[in-house]
Symmetry: C2
Subunit: 147 residues, 2 copies
DNA sequence: TTCAGTTGTAACCATCACAGTTTCATCTGT
DNA sequence: ACAGATGAAACTGTGATGGTTACAACTGAA
């Protein structure tokens, strides 16, 4: 299964805010146009980012503001905000293995540690990248484009 | 989004084959009982494992045989067999960012490398664990249980 | 104080993946 | 031939996703 596009959309949103906030009013309509989707989709994601405490959104007037330095917002923070999973377990374990069976009653003990290690590997890599990296990377790409 | 339970079920299947093949005929009915699901679910997963070249399944008589040494079958192999994703991309990118927008036309260039690094981190960790590890671990658990 | 612009949210809809189930054809060793 | 097993088709229910319309609520400015 794939991780939902809400994640890449959220990163796209942050990048647009960084890039355009001086020049334009960055509204859900503006973002929807850049991302090429519906403004309501954007607002739903903004709500999730807001609930996670990553941004504030101005009602009426519009406008998005990160609540902390961009170097303190990692991909992991964004992922957890928009794609949170029940119990934080990446792997969906089959629910009721047979306790009468020696394998059935031990399969959790056998697998849980390894599955967690895999999930940790992914999440730790996610923690390495920040919104600041995106801002810097985009500035570089735009400089190259402009030259 | 969670990775489907087919993955843990497949690992459960391999463990049952290892553990019980001497003692019982390991059929889809037998496995369905240990895993506590429907035999047809098991057969669908067996078909995927077979198509990936990891096992052979005997028709008529029943019986499952891995095609290579258990130390050569990794979690990654099993994951790819039962949970394959379109294009092998873990992250679902929003499809059509606006090419008129400087961010829209550069967002792929900005993100693709980082997303791939995250996916690689997960998959490389998956490659560290083999079905042999499961067999050994289960033997140990059963020894402790029996003592 | 009205008004235009914006966010927040509810109520839908279509599509898809997942897990499960029934049913039956097909294969294989005895 | 038969019992026991796999293979596969067809169908169901459930939930997530992505999208859309509609409207209430808020805000700053005219």
């Amino acid at each position: 299964m794939q991780i939902s596009s809400r994640f890449t959309i959220a990163l796209h949103i942050f990048t647009c805010v960084d890039t355009f906030q001086e020049e334009y009013k960055v509204t859900s309509d503006f973002l929807a146009s850049s991302i090429n989707t519906n403004p309501v989709i954007i607002r739903k994601i903004l709500t999730q980012l807001k609930q996670a405490g990553l941004i504030t959104v101005a009602r009426g007037t519009g406008g998005i503001t990160p609540t902390r330095p961009l170097s303190d917002i990692t991909f992991y923070d964004v992922y957890k905000a928009v794609d949170s999973i029940e119990d934080d377990t990446l792997f969906h374990f089959h629910e009721n293995p047979n306790p009468q069976c020696p394998v059935g009653r031990n399969v959790h003990g056998l697998l849980d540690g390894k599955l967690k290690a895999i999930q940790d590997a992914m999440e730790n890599e996610m923690r390495k990248y920040t919104i600041e990296d995106l801002r810097d990377g985009m500035q570089e790409l735009l400089t190259v484009e402009g030259s």
